[in-house]
């Protein structure tokens, strides 16, 4: 369970997130949508514990900043950055140490195999392409067997086979009862995955939908319905002002 209550983040005079509240339950896939500058990155970085914020974020009922919450939480950032002098395999082993996991060699090999990294496991971080880095980043998140996983634009840079594999992995995690939150602009890629969707604009959650409630509606249609409406109102206001 991932719960965000009244999340507010201010940069100087600018409110990047203003009282954002939403929750994604166990075994659910939440999608965080919003136009550029909506505040998605701020919300994501706050959940990952990278920013100071006001409000409450809890992972499995624990404060997101607590060690217990962090043990259950995995994060795939939008732009993966590797340790230049660590190999692919050493990145995974590092995560095993950092999260104090009991993982067998077989599990590591299996995971690397799923993302076609077996022959790349001895490559150093600075020898990887962007897509490879993304795959390593995903593997590092998956090796944790997280209860809550946050994926920020996870499909960017991945080849079609990896996208297919990632979707499969996400569904498996859901089956296992994990909470998944995906932030993306690639609506096409997540339309068969989502259970609950949150639309963010100007630091606010302007809409949220459950798939079970809007069976007939397409994700894309819903998104544009909400955001066009918002921008339409804005245009209208501007015209009136003129």
């Amino acid at each position: 369970m991932l719960e965000i209550q009244g999340l507010t983040k201010v940069y100087g005079k600018y409110k990047a997130a203003d009282g954002v509240s939403f929750a994604v339950g166990n075994g659910e896939i939440g999608i965080l949508l919003g136009p550029n500058g909506a505040g998605k990155s701020t919300v994501i970085k706050s959940i990952a514990g990278l920013l100071r914020y006001q409000g409450k974020i809890s992972v499995k009922g624990m404060d997101a900043r607590s060690i217990g919450a962090k043990k259950a939480f995995a994060y795939v950032p939008e732009l993966p950055v590797m340790y230049e002098a660590l190999t692919v395999r050493e990145h995974i082993v590092f995560i095993v140490h950092a999260y104090h996991l009991k993982v067998t060699e077989d599990e590591i090999q299996k995971l690397l195999g799923r993302f076609e990294l077996l022959d790349k496991q001895d490559k150093l971080g600075n020898e990887l392409s962007k897509g490879m880095m993304q795959k390593v980043s995903i593997c590092c998140a998956l090796i944790i067997h997280p209860d809550v996983i946050l994926l920020d634009e996870p499909m960017v840079g991945l080849d079609p086979a990896a996208i297919k594999e990632l979707k499969q992995v996400i569904l498996e995690l859901k089956e296992e009862g994990a909470t998944i939150l995906i932030s993306t602009h690639m609506l096409e890629m997540v339309k068969e995955l989502w259970d609950i969707m949150f639309v963010l604009d100007k630091g606010h959650v302007i809409a949220s939908y459950r798939k079970s409630d809007v069976k007939e509606d397409d994700l894309e249609e819903l998104f544009f319905h909400v955001t066009d409406g918002e921008h339409g109102k804005e245009e209208e206001g501007r015209e009136r002002g003129n």
Binding site: A48, G49, L50, L51, R52, D63, R65, S66, I67, G68, K70, K71, F73, A74, Y75, P77, P80, V81, M82, Y83, E84, A85, L86, T87, E90, H91, V93, F94, I95, H97, A98, Y99, H100, L124, G125, S137, C140
Partner: protein, 533 residues
């Protein structure tokens, strides 16, 4: 500090693997062995020369070795400790990499441990410095081995415990808000200000000179300044013998170390500092990348641009020049920067020396010498041409590589012309040099800078993938040296056989010719988006 042993295993794993892989990779490069030999030779030379330097500075002026060593250690303490404390106060001293942010910050490790992980990088440099000083204490100053060992132990253990604790308190505390942290920064500056006040007092009382500096560094007032001064008191106690002040200072130093350590251990830290650390890591990375390209970069300093327009008077590669002109026009000081200021100061300085009558007939040669010195001493400034190489559209412009190189670097020649004028004209006018001589000297400077520029472009093209930054600098200096060497030969012949003007003309012709050849070779850089090597 409340950090679990599992966390230390994690950090140790990171250090071990990173170090092992880096060493393994470096050992595969032949250039590493060259650097190693140079580094060892340099170290041996420097280490040996210090003995002579200290003898000249202290022993010959009747300052005994214990006093001299204490002076040296006090000066080094001034360099190392206050700067660290100020940067910790600003939450800017620790360098995290982007990979730390990705993998380490969200991990379930104690945020205090993450701070210590980053701090170790700083500690290692400090340890090395104190180790060299401890060995140096025996060899340079003839101190007993046990004293230097004790100093090393104290500087390694107590000093690092104290500094690390203060770092954890500054970064990790979540009780004080930004305003309170600002007050803390001011307090640190105020404490450092006491050293300045004491310095002024000593200067007023005793005037300038080595003896006054020694007295200042030994003054009891300095040993009473909190933390930094207390460490200096401890150094005095160890090498100069006990006094009331240094005993009290030393006791306070150890008490402070224990107090700060306990405070750091008890303090709650959930990782709120990550936000500041991320900001600094981003700024630092940006500055590092700029620095790699030879640009002047300070972490956290953002360049401000104004509004400007430019009318493009040409097409194809010429557009590169006009785009650069537009960018420079948006700069606050147009094409001028720190180096321009330096040239102006050097020019005025030379003019003042010339006015005093210390130059005489040698004025043109003094100016040329200053120009050569500045050209050699300052690393090649990549300017905007380096950025052109990183942009794919540069290669897509339908024009020849040579024209692209010329227009991408044209502005650098204009800058060199301006700098050359600033270096030459003040002295030239004051000393009444003939107009032609001044023009020729300025042209020599433009050629010098062009030679430096194209030597760098050429090295970048052919050795860019093989050599590191230092290696490339040596290679550049080598090619520059050849061109300048031939130029000087021509200039000497012209001056001896005819006149200084002919010598300067020959210098310009030889340098311009050879630089043009380098330019043609270097233009390959603009053919495709990769180095030849």
């Amino acid at each position: 500090m409340g950090v679990k042993s599992a966390d230390y295993t994690t950090f140790l794993f990171l250090y071990r693997k990173i170090l092992k892989n880096r060493v393994k990779k470096a050992l595969h490069k032949p250039v590493t062995y060259v650097y190693l030999v140079i580094a060892v030779l340099y170290f041996v030379l420097i280490f040996g020369s210090f003995k002579i330097t200290f003898d000249v500075m202290f022993a010959e002026r009747g300052i005994d070795s214990a006093s001299a060593l204490t002076v040296v250690l006090t000066v080094i303490t001034f360099f190392l400790v206050p700067a660290n404390l100020i940067s910790y106060g600003k939450r800017k001293g620790l360098v995290f990499r982007q990979s730390d942010i990705h993998f380490l910050f969200p991990a379930p490790v104690n945020p205090k441990g993450v701070l210590l992980y980053a701090h170790v990088k700083t500690v290692l440099l400090g340890l090395l410095t104190y180790f060299v000083l401890s060995v140096g204490g025996v060899f340079w100053f003839g101190m007993p081995l046990w004293k230097m060992f004790l100093f090393f132990l104290i500087s390694c253990v107590a000093e690092n415990v104290l500094e690390a604790s203060m770092m954890v308190i500054c970064y990790g505390n979540e009780r004080f808000n930004r305003r309170q942290m600002l007050l803390f920064q001011i307090l640190i500056y105020a404490v450092m200000g006491i050293f300045v006040v004491i310095g002024i007092a000593v200067y007023i009382r005793e005037g300038a000179g080595l003896r006054a500096v020694v007295n200042y560094l030994h003054s009891p007032a300095i040993q009473m300044v909190p933390v930094v001064g207390w460490f200096i008191a401890l150094v005095h106690l160890l090498f100069m013998g006990p006094t009331t002040v240094n005993i009290i200072g030393s006791v306070l130093y150890f008490a402070a170390a224990v107090f700060f350590f306990l405070t750091a251990v008890r303090m709650k830290c959930t990782g709120e500092y990550y936000e500041d650390a991320i900001k600094f890591a981003e700024d630092y990375e940006e500055a590092r990348q700029k620095g790699k390209k030879g640009e002047v970069a300070i972490a956290g300093w953002k360049k401000k641009y104004g509004k400007a327009t430019v009318s493009y008077r040409g097409s194809y590669a010429k557009a590169l020049f006009y785009r650069q002109l537009l960018e420079y026009k948006k700069n606050r000081f147009f094409i001028f920067g720190f180096y321009t200021l330096l040239c102006l100061c050097a020019g005025i300085g030379l003019a003042v020396i010339g006015k005093r009558g210390d130059m005489g007939e040698m004025a043109p040669f003094v100016i040329l010498g200053a120009m050569a010195y500045l050209t050699f001493i300052f690393a090649a400034y990549s300017g905007k041409w380096g950025k052109e190489l990183a942009k794919p559209y540069t290669y897509l412009i339908p024009d020849s590589a040579f024209r692209k190189l010329w227009y991408a670097t044209l502005m650098e020649h204009i800058r060199a012309l301006a700098d050359g004028c600033l270096l030459t004209l003040p002295t030239g006018i004051v000393m009444g040099l003939p107009f032609l001589q001044m023009v020729l000297i300025i042209m020599v400077y433009v050629c010098l800078q062009a030679c430096k520029l194209y030597a760098e472009v050429m090295v970048e093209a052919f050795l860019g993938n093989i050599l590191g930054a230092v290696g490339k600098q040596f290679a550049r200096l080598f090619f520059e040296g050849i061109v300048i060497g031939f130029g000087i030969l021509g200039a000497a012949l012209g001056t001896i056989l005819f006149s200084l003007e002919v010598g300067l003309v020959l210098l310009v012709i030889v340098m311009a010719g050879m630089t043009a050849v380098m330019m043609i070779i270097a233009s390959i850089n603009f053919e495709r988006m990769e180095s030849v090597a």
